[in-house]
């Protein structure tokens, strides 16, 4: 088992004719992902990597029975692409695009509350169920099939932690990068809930970072609802208050919450061991298994 994506996921790539869209379509297909269509307005009738392109997501869903989308559309048009995807009956939309204006995302979030589709991202590396499907830009070769779920706000940090796991023979059920933006579709809690409900997932890694209160809220959720053991990692312990560290979300307000300390404390209080290094996180996970 796995969560959200598997070998039956039928993917439409929005923005498939762009440089990134094309490259990662190739990568996803090479990994075995079932990419069934592309959607680019005005490009209907073309083909990319042997995949038929449609003018609208609607057509791609109609014609190719797609049930998930990956969005590589540039930031200026990305919110519109997300609204388009949310207007179909796709189960899942994964938004890779970085740099979508925050107010656009607030509107998308409002729309999201009206539909049943799940959104992952934006500004995220995507989601992978090793050996079955990857939707996004994660490097497939570092993942291995196994029993650990992973959810992370950061892309390359995810790879690092996965590398530490796979390196010692610990595989993953599904790994999700939820994205580093202030407003995202899927929260830590959403992902944890899905992992908790997945029989095959025996432990979960949660990689957080400074800024916001999502990790604190996730800790409260874990304490109350989760039986599956969770190990955590928090990036940004040494970040000075008030400075933005790359991710729009990663800014410490200096007001007590949002700091690495408050997040680590919250997780520890919830019984979640937090590694000082990615290697230590892998140690904790091995202890659980």
């Amino acid at each position: 088992m796995s969560i959200l994506v598997d070998e039956n996921t039928r993917v439409v790539v929005q923005g498939i004719t762009g440089g990134e869209g094309k490259f990662h379509t190739e990568q996803m297909m090479e990994y075995g992902t079932n990419v069934v269509a592309g959607a680019v307005p005005g490009r209907g009738g073309q083909e990319v990597e042997g995949v038929p392109v449609y003018d609208t997501v609607d057509e791609a869903v109609e014609e190719e029975d797609a049930n998930a989308s990956v969005v590589f559309v540039p930031p200026a048009f990305a919110a519109d692409a997300l609204f388009e995807a949310l207007d179909t009956d796709l189960d899942l939309v994964v938004a890779i695009t970085e740099g979508i204006p925050t107010q656009d995302m607030a509107k998308v979030k409002k729309r999201l509350s009206e539909v049943d589709t799940r959104l992952i991202g934006p500004n995220c590396p995507g989601i992978i169920t090793p050996g079955e499907a990857k939707l996004g830009i994660l490097p497939g070769n570092i993942f291995a099939d196994g029993n650990v779920g992973l959810v992370s706000r950061s892309g390359t940090l995810t790879y690092q932690v996965v590398d530490n796991l796979t390196g010692r023979g610990v595989g993953q059920t599904t790994a999700i990068g939820i994205g580093g933006d202030p407003i995202i579709g899927t929260s830590f809690i959403d992902a944890l809930e899905l992992f908790e409900g997945d029989e095959e997932t025996e432990a979960v890694v949660m990689c957080g970072e400074i800024g916001g209160e999502d990790e604190e809220e996730a800790a409260a959720y874990i304490a109350e609802y989760m039986d599956t053991p969770v190990a955590g990692f928090i990036a940004g312990r040494t970040a000075p208050p008030g400075k933005r560290m790359g991710h729009a979300g990663a800014i410490v307000s200096g007001s007590g919450t949002g700091t690495a300390e408050s997040k680590i404390d919250a997780l520890n209080d919830a019984g979640v061991p937090v590694g000082d290094t990615p290697e230590e996180v892998a140690d904790h996970i091995e202890d659980f298994l």
């Binding site: 930031p75 200026a76 970085e98 740099g99 979508i100 204006p101 925050t102 107010q103 656009d104 995302m105 607030a106 509107k107 979030k109 409002k110 729309r111 590396p125 830009i137 994660l138 490097p139 570092i142 992370s152 706000r153 950061s154 892309g155 390359t156 940090l157 790879y159 690092q160 590398d163 580093g180 202030p182 407003i183 990689c207 970072e209 400074i210 916001g212 209160e213 999502d214 990692f233 990036a235 940004g236 312990r237 040494t238 970040a239 000075p240 400075k243 933005r244 560290m245 790359g246 991710h247 729009a248 990663a250 307000s253 200096g254 007001s255 007590g256 000082d276 290094t277 990615p278 290697e279």
Partner: protein, 382 residues
């Protein structure tokens, strides 16, 4: 992107929000002339992108020409938290009886804009939020509809704004929200809104920060950007387009992806070192970007050693390796020891390309960081 007070006030005034009469001045003479024009008393206010100007001596009230000259002279050219004051706003003093706070920002937890009003204006609103959160009335906004007029009234009455000015303050808030939305602001606030003795309301300060990701559709605002930096290094980072933050230590850090770079910083600290900076070269970086990054870190005289940590997803290890070689081969002598750790896409190819005579290659993150900390210790002890 931050706007200066005078820029934000111009936008506010155009939208119909009352602001005091004012002039911008870049020299003492101009400031005195401006003061004569708007009439005494005047406030002379440093226009720099730092918070707490007043406490730091960046705002003075002058009641005559002598004082205006004296204060303008003091403020122009002064160093305010690392920034040099190059312009001042000379503004008519307002005879106020009360100071309010009005603002709009994004509540990221809710994913919705939030309008805020408080009778505790004129002071550090973050402190108010921390100590007496109930003193700030908040109203979340459905971004599809925008702020309804009734919401503006509701939050104003909830905040306990005096009845005499309540409807005027609500109207200011409505205008602020419209600007927030039209101009893609990330934050917009007036602190304080002054209430005069005859119940007029005036925006005595103005904060307006624009969402950097939305500047592409706000070309007039993008032009207003005042690219002042604390120092040359931050200026360079701006030019190269890096996410860069300068810190106090001596281990220079370059990596790809904010989370991984932060983790590298944390590990430097964990292994007893002190990070000199945060530098994210971003995803899919090519050789030139790598060269620029090394240039930046070497330009920081505090740096005693560098750790280069790349986990390739989109970024390819061979491209990074080529960039590192190019950058280092340009030096007769490598300025500081460089430790490189490559993982992920094309990492092996990259490691093969790297010149062992120029850099130290480590396989794991932990080893790379420890090695860099050792080098930094050695160099700083030389």
């Amino acid at each position: 992107m931050k706007l200066h007070e005078y820029q934000a006030k111009e936008i506010f005034a155009d939208a119909g929000i009352p602001v005091p009469e004012s002039r911008l001045a870049t020299s003492v003479d101009e400031a005195v002339d401006a003061a004569e024009e708007v009439g005494y008393p005047v406030a002379i206010k440093a226009q720099v992108h730092v918070g707490g100007r007043g406490k730091a001596g960046g705002i003075k009230i002058a009641s005559d020409g002598d004082e205006a000259r004296q204060y303008a002279d003091e403020i122009l050219g002064m160093d305010l938290k690392g920034y040099t004051v190059e312009q001042v706003l000379v503004e008519a003093g307002v005879d106020f009886t009360n100071e309010l706070y009005v603002g709009v920002t994004m509540d990221r937890g809710e994913g919705k804009p939030v309008a805020m009003v408080s009778t505790q204006g004129g002071v550090d609103i973050e402190a108010v939020a921390e100590e007496t959160p109930e003193a700030i009335a908040r109203e979340h906004v459905d971004p599809a509809f925008g702020l309804h007029p009734y919401q503006a009234r509701k939050v104003v009455f909830e905040a306990g704004i005096p009845r005499e000015v309540a409807m005027d303050v609500a109207s200011i808030l409505t205008t602020l929200y419209d600007l927030y939305e039209e101009r893609d602001a990330s934050d917009i606030e007036i602190n304080p809104v002054m209430i005069t003795s005859d119940d007029e309301v005036v925006a005595a300060d103005a904060v307006m920060n624009i969402d950097d990701d939305a500047l592409f559709r706000q070309p007039e605002l993008a032009e207003l950007e005042d690219e002042t930096y604390e120092d040359d290094l931050e200026r360079k980072a701006g030019e190269y387009g890096f996410d860069y933050v300068r810190l106090d230590g001596n281990v220079g850090i370059i990596g790809n992806g904010a989370g991984l770079v932060m983790t590298t910083l944390d590990l430097v600290d964990y292994y007893g070192g002190a990070p000199a900076n945060f530098l994210d070269i971003g995803g899919g970086a090519k050789a030139e970007r790598v060269t620029n990054a090394l240039d930046m870190v070497f330009s920081d005289s505090n740096v005693d050693a560098v750790v280069f940590n790349i986990f390739g997803g989109i970024t390819r290890g061979d491209e990074v390796a080529k960039g590192i070689n190019e950058a280092l081969e340009a030096f007769e002598e490598i300025p500081k020891p460089v430790v490189v750790r490559l993982a992920g896409t094309n990492a092996e190819e990259g490691r093969e390309i790297l010149n062992d005579e120029l850099v130290t290659v480590e396989e794991t993150l932990e080893d790379a960081v420890q090695r860099a900390v050792e080098y930094a210790d050695e160099v700083s002890n030389e």
